[in-house]
Each structure stands twice: as C-alpha cells, then as structure tokens.
Amino acid sequence: MTYSKRIIIIAVLLTLVLMGMVVKKQFTLNTGSLVVLKTTPVDPRSLFRGDYVRLNYDISRLSSVYFPLLNELKYHDSVFVALKKEGVFWQPVAVFKSMPESSDDKVIIEGSINSPPAFSRSPQVSIKYGIENYFVPEGEGRDLEHLRNQGNISMQIAVDTFGNSGIKAVLLNGEPIYVETLF
C-alpha cells in the first residue's frame, strides 16, 4: 500500500471516530423528546477543565424501596428509567433492566449504576446519565452559581428513542439562558 493511501486511511478512520461522537449526540439533540429535569448544581469550577457546572438531578438518586429492581443491579449496569411529566418537571415512575415498549406519555432515559445499594449500604441508588457536566463560557461559572442560589435552575434534556440523552438548554426559572444549537 502506498504512503498516500495509508495516510488517507488514517485521516478517514480518525474522522469517522470523531464524526461518530458528533452524529450520535446531534441525533439525540435533533430527534429526542424534550423533558425538563430539576437539578442541584454543585462544584461549578475546575481549574484544569475551564468553567463547567457539575449537575445532580432529582432522578440521579432513586430509592430501591420504591424501585426494588434496583437491588438486582450492580456497579456499571445499564438501567432504563421511565419518566412522566408531573407539573413542570418529569419524574421517575418505573425502572427496567432493558429498553421497554414505548408509550405516549412516558420517556425512557438510559443510565448506568454509579453506586448500587450493596455498595452504598443505603436504599439510595446513584445513577449516571451522561448529562452531569455542562461547560459554560469562561468566567460565567461563578455567575451561574450565584443564579442557582437565587432561583431554580433546571435542564432541558433531549432523549432519543434509544434512551440516549443530551443537554438541550439550561433554564432559569423556566426560561432558557443557554441553548444548544448547531449554528
């Protein structure tokens, strides 16, 4: 194989990997159902990663008392949480080990077990959804922290038909302050 062909193969393969990351997320953001989740931002600043908000959601900690299936799951296991709109926010109503049948009034979001009951020795199970980081423009992390203390920060999340999720917008008192657009 010639030098030129080899270098083109490299460039194409590396681009495909990067495109895979972009397309997967962009698909979720463009096609996903939108849900609003209540959050509690914590630790808004990291010296080495720039300004970003670390997010905890109400659905990040579920009780195995209400959802006994969680007792069967181990660290890093996938879990599918059914969300239903109750008032402004979407709340967890059921959990599954695999993707359930879709229904009109529910949205299924996929997460992974971060600390199972056996690990944490409490009925609270920590779940990660991959939407726990939000990068903000340099210097605005402190402002967001200040706003958080004043009002309700919530997140608009896009959830696609496979359960993948992505952050669509940051809401302050229900109004968007950061919106994710391609252009």
Binding site: Y3, L18, G130, F135, P137, G166, T181
Partner: protein
Amino acid sequence: MWIGIVITILAALAAVFAVDSIFGSQSFVGRLKKEMPDWVEKGWLEASAGEHILASVGGHKKRGVSTAFAILGVLLFGSGVITFFASNWDEISKLVKLIILFVSMWAVFAAALWSHFRASYAWLSEPMLLLGVILFGVNIMLIAQIYHIDSHYPDGVFVWGLGALLVAWLMKSKSAFVASVLLVLLWTGMEAFDFKAFHWQFMLVWGIQILLLIRCDWRGMLHFLAVSFLFWAVSSYFSLLQISSNSNIVYLMQNYFIFYLILFLLGMHLSLKTATESYGEIMQRYAAVAALGCFYILTFPDFLQCKHWGAGSYGLRSPADNLWLWITAELLLVLIYLALWHRKRTLQQHTRQAYHIWGMGLLGAMLLVMLVNMAPLDANPLIAVMFNLVYFSMLIWLIFFGMRTGNSHLVNISFLFFGITLLSRYFDTFWGLLDRSLFFMAGGVVLIVLGVILEKKRRSVMTGIADEQGVSS
C-alpha cells in the same frame, strides 16, 4: 488535567526523540569512524565506499537533529493551538468549531503527505504525524466539551491511544508508537486507580503493540513496553487485592514472582537464538528486576505473617485455599516445562553450563519454600529465614549468570538489590535495639562501607566480563 496530560506526553516524546536522534546517531557515527579504517585495511571495504557511508550517516545525523527540533516545534505549536482555542472558544458557533477541528486534523495529515514526497522536507513528515495524533486527542476532548459529554472518561484516552496505534501501525511511526504506549498506560492507570477494576483489556492492546514492535523490529522500544507492562502488573496487584481477602496478599505476591520467573526463562529461551538474542536480554533484565522485587518483599517476616495491611495480628494468616493452590500449581507447571525445555535445548546445542545446573537446584529450592509457605502450618519465623536464604542465593546466582553470559545489566541489578536488602536487614535488626542517634551514625558508616565494598566487587566483576568479551571477540 487534559492540557497537563497532553503537554506531559509531548515533553516525553520530544525528550525521547531528541536524545535518541542526537546521542544515538552521534555514538553510531563515532563508532563507524573508529572501525572504518580497520575494515578498509582488512579489505572488507573500499576506501571510497567507506567515505560514502560516513557521508550518508553524517547526513542522517543532521536530519535526526532537525527531527528533534521539529518535534519540539510541534510541542510549542500544539500548546499554542490549545491556548488559542481555549481563549476564543466561546465566540465560535458549534458548526464552525467542528469544521475547524476536522480541517486542522486533515491539514496536518496533508502536510505529512506533502513533506514526505519532498526530499528536503521529508524530515517534517514524522513530526506532522505526531501532531496529527495530538490533534486527534484534542478533538476528542473538545467534541466532548462542545456536546457536554460526561461518560466514562478513560474511554476517551483509550480511543486516543488506539488512534495513535493506528498511525504507528500504518506509517511505522516511532513517535506515534511512543504516544500510543503512554496513552494506553494512562488509560489502564485511570481504570485501575480511579475505578478499581482489574483491567485485563490492557493486555489486548499491549499484545498489538508487541506485534507492531516485532513487525518493525524496534528493539529499543521494548524498554517502553516492558515498563508499561510492569506498571500494569503493579496496578493490577492492587486491583486483584480488592476482590480478595487480605491474607491472600502473600499468595498473590508468590504468584507474581513465579510469573516473572516464567518471563525470565522465556528471555533465556529467546537468548538461545541469534535473531532474538537482544529481545531475550531486555526481557531477562526487566523480569529479573520484577522477580527480585517480589521476592525481596517476601523476605520480610511481617509481610509473610500479614502483620500489616489490616490482616490481623501475628500468626493469623489463613492457609492458602484451593483457588490459590490451583493457580500456583498451573504457574509452576509452566515454569517447570520451560526449565526442562531449556535444558533440552542447551544440551542439544552443547551450550549447557554449570550455572544452568545450579539454576535448576535453586529453582527447586524456591518452589519448595513457596509451597511450604502455603501449607496450613502455624506461622513460623523459620519460613522468613528460608525465604532470605533462597533470596541471597538467587542474587549470587544472578551475578554468576550475568558474568558467564556477559550480561552486565543483570550483575548491576543483583548488586543493587544486594545493597538494598542488606540495608533493610540493618533497619529491621537495629531500629528497636539501638539509641536513635547511634542508629543513624552506625547506619551512615554501614552505608559508606557497604557502598565501597559492593562497588569494588561490582567493578571487579564488570572488568572480568569486559576481559572475557575481549578474549572471545
């Protein structure tokens, strides 16, 4: 954190290539200049051909220096790119950001292609490939940032490492290879220490790296792979302990020791053939360090009795259960098979020496003391004495082996462990017995005397090796 990682990798690469290209080629040219007149005199080489060779190699040296500087340039340029994007990132729309990321990576690979086909810029091709690898990693991080992706972060480093390995494989690029080794090392370190996982997946990638090394015959790179393997082995030791009870710390260490002995024997096998001799020598060197390190730890009575690491009080260590007996038996079978096979090969080649026979005896003693240690006996201080006796016998054998095979590294390693162990025994014995000031004063004297004696002995052994090599050549 990410910028720190990138800069560390770049600095390591630049240092490696600067040292390799400048000092490596200088010593080679120097040696050629020294040997060439002798070859011409013997009629092996025409005088004019000799001049051409020296001119050509001298040219390589100049290009080597250019490559080193170009890589340092890549280091600065890469840092500049990261800083530029970091300070202007918020002003750019998502689509434009993505276009910049992809176009910059393609442009760098195009530059590598362009420079490769121009004789006066060919030296630029390798640094451009490295810059392409760096940009690939930067792009992974920035796309994750653009889309607020919060996933299992070692995966990003893993994908970056695979990208570097792909470049190394297809372009036979040494700098991309070093980058892949460092990135895969970082990946396994994150998995082991941040997520406490026994990270067996590392071995799959490491295996591919070994294949590439053999394919390209990059013997010098074996040092990198040996160090990364040892790092993985150490991190895996702690991961394995997480899924095991504390008293198994001893049996796991014994198994590690047997495993390194197996690697040492494999190195001895490789040394039997001229084509693989240099691989075998490097393998023996690292396996010897690792095996001696493990056995050194096993010589401590406190370790053998699990007085540390929260396993309980004196003498409470439980005997090895069936699982450990089974694993140890399997490893021992492999070890014995390799030893017998080596015996057969050396007998066939008529190269069997006295140290081989002594080595077999020593191997028997090692296995015996380890099996006794696994038996359900009351904790007995004699076990530690036995371990120490075998350990010092190993050191003496290794010095003897290094002398006979002309492997000066093994001699140096043995003397180093000899010194460390004697000092450790001094600390063990006199720490509680002597007054503190007297302890340190006496320790200082012991250290100086020990250093002088060991260095004197080491030099006399090395002179012996040099003399033998001079006679044989």
